[in-house]
Each structure stands twice: as structure tokens, then as C-alpha cells.
């Protein structure tokens, strides 16, 4: 088992040698031109079908990391592979990365119906000059059904509630048939019921589509309940593999994020789920070597 080989210097996430790596981040450093260091020495791997929750304080670099994975920002140091390739060189395969931005990307005053917005997800695979046809329409309507927005396809997208806009944004990402779904603070505008619905939806989609999901949030409680893994990012990202259920104390620590970071495999049912391909002590694997000497100052 690779666990045994996982020396302290091993890359976090690699212990779970189950699926194909979808995201591989190695030694990433990123600094904004004016704001100083945003990310330093970030290493992790996310494998096919996993649900990683990324938490951390504001300014901790969560959105920066997502943008790097998306290929919108280029790190000054280190390497990023998404689906085994440089995210900036994915070309038309960029559609394989679904992205739900922080504000759900729904423009309040833009003249577009729900169907129009979801159809945008098909644009890049259509190529230049071609308009979406019956096939794309069908796919868009199916995605709208999938996120539970059936019957609302003719409504103006800008007039929807926050939760509905999130669903539209997810449907737009889904219609391109992505392998990886990145969500930036999707729960921020939602009430508790809306959040639970969103997580249920993601769980369902993950199973049906075999999606790999990375969600950025500062809502630790919700993520702790639904995400399979939790990582905390505060400029740097360090990982723990833990077997116990998330405790009050751990949550408090994670919230504060004063300690480096946590990568927590938690929740019994998820362990069972993973027990199939990574039995025995994988979850008790050696803790990562902690470099407590690094600077805790906030990034940009």
C-alpha cells in the first residue's frame, strides 16, 4: 500500500491512491503584484470522484488557488496539472472543468432567460459561428431538470433567488459535461435549507456524473458534513489524515485557521465508502510533516 511509502515529505492526498489524479498541485507559489505572497508551497492531489472542501480565512488564498487550477492565473513557481495537463493548455477541453463563480455569475440586468444562460455552457464546444441547435437545447433542458429547475427555463435569470441562480450556474457548468466541478463560495447567499439542498444536489450529481468536486467555502460546518476531505488554506496548505469524526475542537481550530491547515478524512460512512479500494490503515497514515516555521501572515 502506498501509505507505507508515504514518507513525511509525501504529497498530501497521495496516500489515497485510489483513483486517477484530477488535480495535481506541486510546490505552487503565487504572489500578487501589489499584495505580496498569496500562496506558498501548496501541494495536494485530488482524485477522481472525490469531494474536497477548501476552507480558510478571507485572504487565505482560496480563490487564488481556484483561479490557478482554472488556468486564469499562472503561479510563479511550482506546477499544476488538471486532468494530467497544464490548465492553460487545455484548449477546447477546458469545458471539462466546470466552474461556478463566487457570485454565481448571474447578471441581474442582463437580458437572458434561464435557458439562455445554461446554453452558454455549450458555446465553447460548438466552435465559432455555430449557433446552439436542438441537440444543445435538449442538453440544456436536461441540465435544468437535473438541478431541479424544471419549468423555470423561460424565466429571466436575473430575477431569480440566490439559490436558484446557483442552480442555474451549476446547470450551465453541467451542460458541458465536465469531469471536475469547482465551486467558489456557492453557499454564501443561501439560507440553511438552500445550503442543504445544494449539497444534496452536488452529492447526487457526483454519483450520477462521476464528478470530482472542489468547493471553496468559509462555511466550515456545512462542508464538514458533506465534503469527503477538508483542507484549510491560509497562504500555505498542510494536510492531516485523520480518522476520527470532526470534533468541536477541530472545527474551532479550523475556523480560526491559526494552525497551518487540516486535511481531514472524516465521517464514518465516507471511510466505509473508501474502504473498498483503500483498506486498513490508510486513514491513519502518517501525518504530514508540519513546517510550523512559516509565516502566518495573511496573503493578499
Amino acid at each position: 500500500m502506498s501509505t507505507q511509502a508515504a514518507a513525511p515529505a509525501a504529497v498530501p492526498g497521495a496516500q489515497n491512491a485510489g483513483g486517477t489524479p484530477v488535480i495535481e498541485v506541486r510546490g505552487v507559489e503565487f504572489a500578487y503584484e501589489k499584495g505580496g505572497q498569496a500562496l506558498s508551497g501548496v501541494n495536494f492531489t485530488v482524485r477522481e470522484g472525490e469531494f474536497l472542501g477548501l476552507i480558510g480565512p478571507n485572504g487565505g488564498g482560496k480563490t487564488t488557488l481556484l483561479k490557478i487550477v482554472l488556468g486564469l492565473l499562472v503561479p510563479q513557481k511550482g506546477s499544476v496539472l488538471v486532468l494530467g495537463r497544464d490548465p492553460r493548455a487545455l484548449g477546447a477541453d477546458r469545458r471539462l472543468i466546470g466552474y461556478v463563480p463566487q457570485d454565481s455569475g448571474v447578471r441581474k440586468h442582463f437580458p437572458a432567460t434561464v435557458l439562455d444562460v445554461v446554453l452558454m455552457g455549450t458555446y465553447s464546444s460548438l466552435g465559432l459561428f455555430r449557433r446552439p441547435g436542438a441537440k444543445e437545447r435538449e442538453a440544456a433542458l436536461a441540465a435544468i431538470r437535473h438541478v431541479g429547475m424544471e419549468g423555470l427555463e423561460g424565466r429571466m435569470a436575473g430575477g431569480l433567488s440566490g439559490g436558484q441562480q446557483q442552480r442555474v450556474a451549476i446547470a450551465r457548468a453541467l451542460v458541458a459535461r465536465p469531469k471536475l466541478l469547482l465551486l467558489d463560495e456557492p453557499t454564501s447567499g443561501l439560507d440553511t435549507g438552500g445550503q442543504a439542498q445544494l449539497f444534496d444536489l452536488l452529492e447526487r450529481l457526483r454519483k450520477e456524473y462521476g464528478l470530482t468536486v472542489v468547493m471553496v467555502s468559509h462555511d466550515v460546518t456545512a462542508l464538514a458534513h458533506f465534503a469527503e476531505h477538508l483542507a484549510c488554506l491560509n497562504k500555505s496548505l498542510h494536510w492531516h489524515d485523520r480518522s476520527e469524526l470532526i470534533s468541536e475542537e477541530v472545527l474551532r481550530k479550523v475556523y480560526a485557521c491559526e494552525l497551518d491547515a487540516f486535511f481531514i478524512k472524516h465521517r464514518e460512512h465516507l471511510q466505509e465508502f473508501h474502504g473498498d479500494h483503500a483498506p486498513a490503515g490508510h486513514a491513519h497514515g502518517p501525518h504530514c510533516d508540519h513546517d510550523h516555521g512559516h509565516d502566518h501572515g495573511h496573503g493578499h
Binding site: E33, K34, L70, G71, L72, L90, G91, A92, D93, R94, R95, I97, Y99, P101, G105, R107, H109, F110, P111, A112, T113, D116, V117, M120, G121, Y123, S124, L126, L128, F129, R131, P132, M156, A176
Partner: protein
């Protein structure tokens, strides 16, 4: 018959002619009617994008920058007039260069990134200053040259030549063809630049293509209808259409219609009341804007 500000006057006629009779009888008025419709159409079709992308100030800045290009052209080519093809070409080149620098500075800025509106603010005022300086120098070289200051600001639709009409027609055709061909790409880009880029659309290409269309439209139009009217025409029809339409395609079509109608109404009013057409066009568009916002309000409740 046409004053320097381009009033479509009927005073010179012995008998009052109806507007239609006047059009048939006077080629300058025919050109004004044709070019006005084309300028109105082109600016208006771009205006929903300008409004949604919050680029009103870009259009405004470029319209003013055109004045700098004009000054440069007049200064460099002795004996030239403002509607010479060479002067127009220099103006377009000057504005493209300026737009490109603004685009570069604000989009992929280096360590000293300047926000887009500041960059335009600088380009805008420096170009105007340069234009004023160069036109004055030109006047010194050539004492009999009388610059048409008012014409630059408020246009002179009534005094345009046939070549201008063809240029405007070519521009309108090019802009409409590109908007039609790249409709979905421009729509996604306008909706959300980041998302469009993430999904694999050539966002940089679309950014500079749209800037190019905007500059060409602004430069050609500013010569005909003036800086002030171009700025209005790039914003008001878009706002009117966006208040009423439920899709971007419809909004572009509706804005185009508003553009053509407001220019024709403005020209007609200018003929009937003997006032400058530019102000009438803007006032017509503003009245439509008030009406459209009213309708949108009523619909909401």
C-alpha cells in the same frame, strides 16, 4: 443653405417644401438622411454591449481622442481637409493605437497597473489637447485655413460628401456582419468575461475585436455627427432596448431600430424647426429613454 453647424434649413427655399420634397430636391439632405440612418444603426447596435460591459466611457474617450487624430492628420498633410481619406486614415490609426494602449495598460497591466477609466481619462484629455495644439499650428502655417471647431463637437451631417456615405455604409455592413457571426461569443464575453475564458472562448481576441469595432464606429461617426452625439448614441439606444427586451439579440435589433428612427426624427425636426439635427437626435433618444424606463417600471409592478 447649410450653416457651419449643419442646420437643415428651409429658409433658403422660396416656397416651403414638404420634407419629402426637400429630400428629393437636395442631394446634401439625401446624404444626411442616408448617413444618419447608418450611423444611428451602427452605434445603436453596439450600444447594448457598451452598456452591459460598462464601456460608455471608452466610447466617449475614443470620440474625443478622434479629435487628436484629426489634428495630427491636418498638421501632417499640408493643404488637407478634415474629410480627406488620408486624414481619416490617420485619425483611425491614432485612435486604434490609443485604444490598444488603453487596453494593454488596463487589462494586462504591469506593476503600475492603471484602471481603465483613469487610462481613458488620460488618453482622452491628452489627445484633445494635442488636437487643439496641432490644429492651431496648422492654422499658423496656412492663414486661410479655418478650422470647423463646432463641427468637430456637434457634427455636420448636412455638409458631408458622397464618399462619407459609402464609408459609413461599409462600416455598418462590417459591424453588423461581425455582430451576427460572433453573436454567441460576444454574448458570453459580455455576460461574464472570466466564465467565457474558463469555458475556452478566445476572450482576448473578442476583447480587442470589440474595441476595434468601437473605435472604427466612433471615428467614422464622430466626423459626421460630432463627439457629443456619438457618445449619446452609444449609450441611450442600448439603455432603451435593455429596459424592454428579454434577450440580447432582441435588444440589439431594438436598439438598431431606435437608432435609425431617432436620427431620422432628429433630422426631420431639424428641418422643420431650423435647429441643429444633433441636439434633436439626442433629445429624441432621451425622450424614448424616459418612456422606456417608465414602461419597464410599470411592467415590474
Amino acid at each position: 443653405m447649410a450653416t457651419i453647424t449643419g442646420t437643415a434649413t428651409k429658409d433658403a427655399m422660396d416656397e416651403p417644401l414638404s420634407y419629402l420634397q426637400a429630400i428629393v430636391a437636395t442631394p446634401p439632405l439625401q446624404r444626411a438622411v442616408g448617413a444618419g440612418a447608418l450611423v444611428g444603426l451602427t452605434c445603436a447596435c453596439l450600444s447594448p454591449f457598451v452598456v452591459l460591459r460598462r464601456m460608455a466611457f471608452v466610447g466617449d474617450g475614443m470620440a474625443h481622442a478622434a479629435f487628436g487624430g484629426l489634428g495630427l492628420g491636418l498638421f501632417l498633410i499640408s493643404g488637407s481637409r478634415s474629410d480627406d481619406v488620408a486624414v481619416q486614415a490617420i485619425t483611425i490609426g491614432f485612435c486604434l493605437l490609443l485604444a490598444l494602449s488603453v487596453g494593454l495598460v488596463s487589462r494586462r497591466g504591469g506593476h503600475h497597473r492603471i484602471s481603465e477609466d483613469s487610462a481613458i481619462g488620460i488618453a482622452f484629455s491628452v489627445a484633445m489637447a494635442l488636437g487643439a495644439l496641432l490644429i492651431t499650428l496648422r492654422q499658423r502655417q496656412e492663414a486661410q485655413y479655418a478650422p470647423n471647431w463646432e463641427g468637430y463637437l456637434f457634427g455636420s451631417l448636412i455638409t458631408i460628401g458622397g464618399g462619407q456615405v459609402w464609408l459609413t455604409l461599409g462600416l455598418a455592413a462590417a459591424v453588423l456582419a461581425i455582430l451576427a457571426a460572433l453573436h454567441k461569443e460576444l454574448m458570453y464575453y459580455t455576460y461574464d468575461e472570466n466564465l467565457a475564458e474558463v469555458s475556452g472562448l478566445p476572450v482576448s481576441f473578442l476583447h480587442y475585436l470589440f474595441l476595434l469595432l468601437l473605435v472604427l464606429t466612433v471615428v467614422v461617426s464622430a466626423r459626421l455627427v460630432g463627439i457629443v452625439l456619438v457618445s449619446a448614441s452609444l449609450v441611450l439606444p442600448g439603455l432603451i432596448a435593455l429596459a424592454l427586451c428579454s434577450s440580447l439579440g432582441m435588444a440589439v435589433a431594438a436598439a438598431g431600430l431606435v437608432g435609425v428612427l431617432s436620427y431620422e426624427a432628429g433630422l426631420y425636426a431639424s428641418y422643420v424647426w431650423n435647429v441643429p439635427p444633433g441636439s434633436m437626435v439626442i433629445l429624441v433618444q432621451f425622450a424614448l429613454f424616459l418612456a422606456a424606463t417608465g414602461v419597464a417600471r410599470v411592467r415590474q409592478t
